[in-house]
């Protein structure tokens, strides 16, 4: 797939509409981080990952794999998976409902195509991604393993255990991304448990580090190009995407208050108006 940045922009707008409509229909969910991750995840799935929904299996054989370590970002994850063709877009309406395949946090027990591993309890997905990258090395499968972490999530010690492990085992087929929006449930990351310079930390951990603007498709594309060039380097890569929680809707942008809160009906109407309709259409 090779979408222009205009096309990516249209998809991202539709994904943000999906996110807001999903959480409003479910009256629960996590729109904030979903909206900060929307642009680079859209670029990842539509332009960068080597994957084919039609032949997808959980083993990931012959394809790139993606593990959502920050499992609460299911709204953006499910929207993009469905918009890529992993399952019908209409199924987004079942998000968080009884019996749904679209569980509040990703589940592998509902046979939802595209989901490789359960996540939700934070800090664990990067370890699973590192293990999958090891598995690909053993299989001499040159495809990549991608993983998305939150910056708040990176307060979990296991993230740093995984960082040590991936560098030690030279997992240069592992590309992790951090949605560096600076916000978490209780407030700004700097106020809750300041992490300092994440770029310096990952560098010290022995990773290749790329810092990019997470809402600029040129910067995103360049970051992915640099990241992919790490194959053969003997080092895993971390892309730190500088983003804004709730990006795309003025009253949601830049505040932690929308991490796990849902707009009221009149706020949804306002938000959808701000985003505008797209030719892709709502689910």
């Amino acid at each position: 797939m090779n979408k222009s940045k205009e096309e990516l922009g249209i998809i991202a707008t539709q994904v943000r509409r999906d996110i807001l409509r999903m959480v409003c229909m479910a009256k629960s969910g996590h729109p904030g981080g979903s909206m900060s991750s929307t642009d680079f995840l859209t670029a990842l799935y539509f332009n960068e990952m080597s994957h084919d929904p039609a032949t997808w299996t959980r083993s990931g054989k012959g394809q790139d794999m993606f593990i959502l370590s920050a499992g609460h970002m299911t709204p953006v994850y499910y929207s993009i998976l469905s918009r890529c063709g992993y399952f019908p877009v209409s199924e987004l309406a079942s998000f968080r409902q009884m019996g749904t395949r679209l569980q509040g946090h990703p589940s592998v027990r509902k046979n939802l195509p595209g989901v490789f591993q359960a996540s939700g309890s934070l800090g664990q997905g990067l370890s699973a991604a590192a293990g999958a990258a090891l598995g690909k090395k053993l299989d001499k499968d040159n495809h990549l393993v991608w993983c998305l972490c939150g910056d708040g999530e990176s307060e979990e010690g296991q993230i740093w255990e995984a960082g040590m492990f991936a560098a030690h085992h030279k997992l240069d087929n592992l590309i992790a991304m951090t949605d560096w929006n600076g916000k978490q449930i209780d407030g700004p990351v700097d106020e809750v448990a300041g992490e300092g310079d994440l770029a310096a930390k990952w560098d010290a951990w022995g990773w290749r580090v790329i810092v990019a603007e997470g809402h600029d498709f040129d910067s995103i594309a360049k970051a992915f190009e640099l990241a992919k060039a790490g194959a053969g380097s003997g080092q895993p890569t971390m892309i730190l995407f500088k983003t804004e929680m709730g990006h795309g809707v003025d009253f949601m942008a830049g505040t932690h208050k929308w991490h796990g809160s849902v707009p009221k009906p009149e706020q949804l109407e306002d938000a959808l108006k701000q985003l505008g309709e797209t030719p892709l259409g709502d689910f």
């Binding site: 959980r58 027990r109 359960a118 699973a128 293990g131």
Partner: protein, 317 residues
Amino acid sequence: MKKYIDTGKKDTRSGFGAGLLIAAQADERIVALTADLKGSLKMDAFAAEFPERFFQCGIAEANMVGAAAGLAITGKIPFIGSFAEFVTGRVYDQLRQEVAYGNTNVKIASSHAGITLGEDGATHQTMEDIALMRALPGMVVLNPCDYNQTLQATLAAARYDGPVYLRFGRPAVPNFTPADEPFVIGKAVVLNEGADVTLLATGHTVWEALQAAETLEAEGIAAEVIDLATIKPLDEAAILTSARKTGAVVVAEEHNLAGGLGEAVAGVLALHCPTPMEFVNGADRFGQSGTPSALMAAYGIDAPHIADAARKAVGRK
């Protein structure tokens, strides 16, 4: 009663190490990970023969669980090894999400389980691990009794498709089960038939139960000894058949009462065949430093305590 011969004391963890190597020679999907306890887990032979399939994780057990899950997703069969406490209680949430809920084909090799870890003391002696692992939906829980059975249980765990908790120990203990007896997950092994009392045991307590049965035989009490090496799924049919025959049941385990084999058996009997029961276990306590045999005696988990419990159970019929 049927005579069991100790063919020479061996640690059950060495049975695991030997089984891991044999399983790996037959199946290239098998990989092994440890958190800086390769020697303690007896993974040396595997690591020497298959260096490219052995992954040292350092002292970082949480990541080890997740990495194993990732390897399993790609089709590998990972065995993760550490001391029982550090591969259960320390990483419970990781086992829950990445292995049990994530339904990944990970085998948890849990060594130095129970109080017989000995001199290192209570921080390293878990008496709660069976409870934790039993509580996880779908987790198979195995606790073989000697070197031979642990080797066979390791082969069975490798063949089984799904999460398995494989519990074994540190000290050299009598090796008495047949070397070539295949391990069947979910199947109890009747070691001795008897009509007066049922002794259900698991792990190191199986040999103790056999010793107790000999003592009881001299007193005219015929004890049926059953090895419950599979704690989950429990062989309910075997338990009920024996309980209906003897009318008195003792459950012995190197574990505390809460959530252990005793409570699992009590649940089965309460539903289908209420029977006088006695428990032999560590009660509700932490361990302490000491030799394995001194600790088993002090915590009331050895043959004399099993015999006492049997007399009590028979007396309640």
